[in-house]
């Protein structure tokens, strides 16, 4: 019984916060369902769909700390979309060292051979794709996609991505994928209050050409 009085004001405060951020006159849209397929019509996983309002003031960004794990000599997740300014930590959960680096223009950094979690997270302060590699494991590849809008989602294995909590209005929908040829694809979409928005993307992807097999046979499940 003691908890309830403490929860109610918090909810109110949250509601006020949300209402204050978007203005009381703006109504909520049910969301957007984006479908991404490749040139062969197959669903594309790990594509990042972003929605940027057209006109008006840009949405406020609230960077939250994010994590790019290294598990079993793989980056997890393979694609990590974050908003500009997000600090990302790189905990190494393997019992060997990794050497994470990026030469991408959006963020060049290097975490030379380390074990455990580096004390300071890497802050991604410029928008754009950042390709992560491990200098001692060629197959370890992951991407941090730094976006400038809070409205984004990543496609699941069925190629669908759901973006929610959007005010109604005109948007530009974009999709990005690590193997996408050229720039992210943009499509205009207008969201209404009563209907879920739908957008489809058909991407032309490069072949998945990793330099060497992800796992050497003799390494087995080392730290499963």
């Amino acid at each position: 019984m003691k908890r309830r009085p403490s929860v109610a004001p918090l909810l109110v405060a949250l509601a006020l916060l949300v209402a204050g951020g978007t203005g009381p006159a703006i109504a909520r849209a049910p969301g957007v369902d984006a479908v991404v397929t490749d040139q062969a019509g197959k669903p594309v996983v790990d594509a990042v769909v972003t929605l940027t309002p057209v006109g008006g003031s840009p949405s406020a960004l609230r960077p939250m700390p994010a994590v790019m794990d290294q598990v079993n000599k793989e980056f997890v997740p393979a694609v990590l979309p974050v908003v500009v300014g997000t600090p990302v930590s790189f905990p190494n959960r393997d019992n060997i060292r990794h050497h994470v680096y990026s030469f991408s223009p959006a963020k060049k950094f290097e975490l030379p051979l380390y074990i455990g979690t580096p004390s300071a997270p890497v802050v991604f302060d410029k928008p754009g794709p950042v390709a992560l590699g491990c200098n001692i494991h060629d197959w370890m590849v992951a991407y941090v996609y730094v976006v400038t809008t809070p409205h984004f989602a990543k496609t699941t294995a069925d190629g669908h991505a759901h973006v929610e909590g959007l005010p109604a209005g005109p948007y530009e929908a974009r999709v990005w994928h690590p193997r996408l040829r050229g720039e992210a694809v943009a499509k205009p979409i207008t969201l209404t209050e009563d209907e879920e928005g739908r957008v489809t993307f058909s991407l032309t992807l490069r072949p998945d050409a990793r330099p060497v097999p992800r796992r050497e046979p003799y390494e087995g499940q080392q730290s499963g």
Binding site: S102, F103, V141
Partner: protein, 579 residues
């Protein structure tokens, strides 16, 4: 000479046959060898070509591997990412040395050269072969043989992954004469790289000399069609392998070099054949000698026989046809020898018959001729001739003269033979016959008388015809008996058997004395034939050449009971000649 050539012919036939067989087999073997050699060389080249291409592939794989290692180098990635041009170029040059490449360059993802180890490199220039960048993205074997900077290079392109591709790393390995020489060491074949140009394929790198390269370019079309190319006058077997769209590799080998082992085999065969030929010549000479020896022997014997030597005989101790021929030859020569002996005997007999009666002649011819040697013996000599013949011969025409003589001799000849008289000579109408020599006979005087009587009777009949025609002819005869020297007289080529002594003179004189139809005999003759003949004594006659008159008788006729003379001297038991 002919048989020498017969021998030579044998040798030629044997050796010729052998040579023909040898030549044919050598030609066949040579043909097979050539075909086999061609096949094997073709196969060898095909294998070499396959191996060569594999070798190139393997080398390319090696390079790709090395390139992938290079591209994963963190320093390189760092240099590329930091875009420090000079550092990047230095890193590239260092890495170029690591893999032994001739050129190493970095090409941006949009196809601009960002760093290049070539001295002539222009930064920012467009990569000459953008098509390869696209292919490099797709293929697992990103290596090509391409023309670059006027030469041929093997180009390998791998991405620099950080971990996404941030650039292309291109390594070029020049394909030059040194490369070709290295490949030649590997295959033992001439290696040439040719590149397609607007005017045709040109040699870019090769183990061939300059002039040979020109020949290769010129003959390439033929080489690709037939696999044979003529380089500096020598035939080469060649095989072209396409290693890139516009690049050919031609592997070749001189035909003579390729044929060398086969030629060696051929010459060994030829030497063996030649030795066989020599042996066969020797063998043929031996065999032909053996075969021709009896023939030569027979030929020599035949020549001797032809020259009249019938004592020849040949010895061919063989049981074959030649042996039989030799036997027959010997038999034939023996037959000839016998016939010659008979012929010689007959010839002699013919010769003897001129002087002697056939019977005597036969006796003589069967025995030796020593009886004809000079000796002294008592003989009875008959002379006879025609009276008035000389006048007749002058008056009558020659035909008539010869006719008369023919008839006359035809009467006397058989009589002389019948009484076995020895005709010493005849001179026209006159002739002289004697008895008891050279073969003694039992009753020479009687034989002489009977001869004379019969001759007189026959000749008188003959003469009657001629007398009717008005010619005065007669027949007279004289017979004497006594010792005389008898033997062969004359000279080589013309011998006569003659009796020398007064008895012949006496007979001749008596004949001269005799009138027509008279037969005058001496007293000694008369004494011998007294009982067999009717004779009239003529008293003593004085004869020329005889100092004293001699008693002579004229035979009238033969007594009818008188015994006939024996048919031959052999039938008589009383041989007066032995006296």
């Amino acid at each position: 000479m002919r048989f020498r050539s017969f021998r030579a012919r044998l040798v030629v036939v044997f050796v010729g046959l052998f040579a023909v067989v040898l030549t044919i087999s050598l030609l066949v073997v040579a043909g097979f060898l050539r075909a086999a050699a061609r096949g094997e060389i073709g196969e060898e080249l095909r294998l070499a070509g396959t191996l060569f291409v594999r070798q190139l592939d393997a080398r390319s794989q090696q390079l790709v591997g090395a390139m992938r290692l290079l591209s994963g180098d963190f320093a390189l990635k760092t240099a590329v990412a930091t875009a420090d041009h000079e550092t990047t170029r230095s890193v590239l040059d260092n890495h170029r040395r690591r893999i032994g490449a001739d050129v190493l360059m970095l090409v941006s993802l949009d196809g601009a050269i960002t760093a290049d180890t070539r001295p002539s490199a222009q930064r920012g220039a467009t990569f000459a072969l953008p098509r390869l960048l696209e292919e490099a993205e797709q293929t697992q074997d990103p290596t090509w043989v391409v023309p670059l900077d006027g030469g041929l290079v093997r180009l390998t392109i791998v991405p620099v992954l950080a971990p996404d591709p941030i650039a292309w790393l291109c390594a070029g390995f020049s394909i030059d004469d040194r490369t070709a020489a290295e490949l030649r060491r590997l295959t033992g074949l001439h290696v040439s790289f040719l590149r397609r140009q607007p005017e045709g394929f040109t040699v870019q790198a090769s183990t061939l000399e300059t002039a040979e390269r020109v020949d290769l370019e010129r003959g390439l079309a033929d080489a690709r069609k037939s696999g044979i190319i003529r380089i500096q006058g020598a035939q080469h077997v060649a095989r072209a392998e396409q290693v890139a769209a516009d690049v050919l590799v031609v592997l070749q080998r001189p035909l003579t070099e390729a044929f060398a082992p086969y030629n060696r085999l051929f010459w060994i065969l030829a030497a063996v054949g030649g030795a066989g030929l020599v042996l066969s010549i020797l063998g043929a000479i031996l065999v032909s000698r053996r075969v021709s020896r009896p023939v030569v022997t027979l030929a020599g014997a035949a020549e001797r026989v032809a020259a009249g030597d019938f004592d020849t005989s040949v010895s061919v101790p063989q049981s074959d046809e030649l042996g039989t021929l030799a036997e027959n030859f010997n038999e034939m020569v023996a037959g000839l020898r016998d016939r010659e002996r008979v012929r010689a005997a007959l010839e002699r007999a013919e010769r003897l018959k001129r002087f002697f009666s056939p019977q005597v002649a036969e006796v003589l011819s069967a025995g030796d001729e020593s009886v004809l040697a000079s000796h002294r013996r008592e003989i009875t000599v008959v002379f006879c001739d025609l009276r008035g013949f000389t006048a007749f011969a002058e008056a009558a025409d020659p035909g008539e003269v010869m006719q008369l003589l023919r008839d006359y001799h035809a009467i006397l000849g058989p009589l002389i033979a019948r009484y076995e008289g020895t005709l010493e000579r005849f001179t026209g109408d006159g002739l002289m016959v004697f008895f008891n020599d050279p073969v003694p006979c039992p009753d020479p005087a009687l034989r002489a008388v009977r001869l004379a009587v019969e001759a007189r009777d026959a000749v008188q009949q003959l003469l009657d015809g001629w007398r009717d025609r008005g010619y005065t002819l007669g027949f007279g005869s004289g017979i004497a008996m006594g010792f005389a020297t008898v033997g062969r007289i004359g000279f080589e080529g013309r011998f006569d058997y003659a009796a020398i002594g007064s008895v012949t003179n006496l007979a001749g004189r008596l004949c001269q004395e005799a009138a027509d139809g008279q037969i005058l005999i001496s007293a000694s003759v008369y004494a011998e034939v007294e009982r067999a003949v009717e004779a009239m004594p003529l008293g003593e006659l004085t004869l020329r050449g005889f100092p004293r008159p001699l008693l002579a008788f004229s035979v009238l006729s033969l007594r009818a009971h008188a015994p006939l003379p024996a048919g031959s001297s052999a039938s008589s038991g009383d041989a007066r000649g032995a006296r």
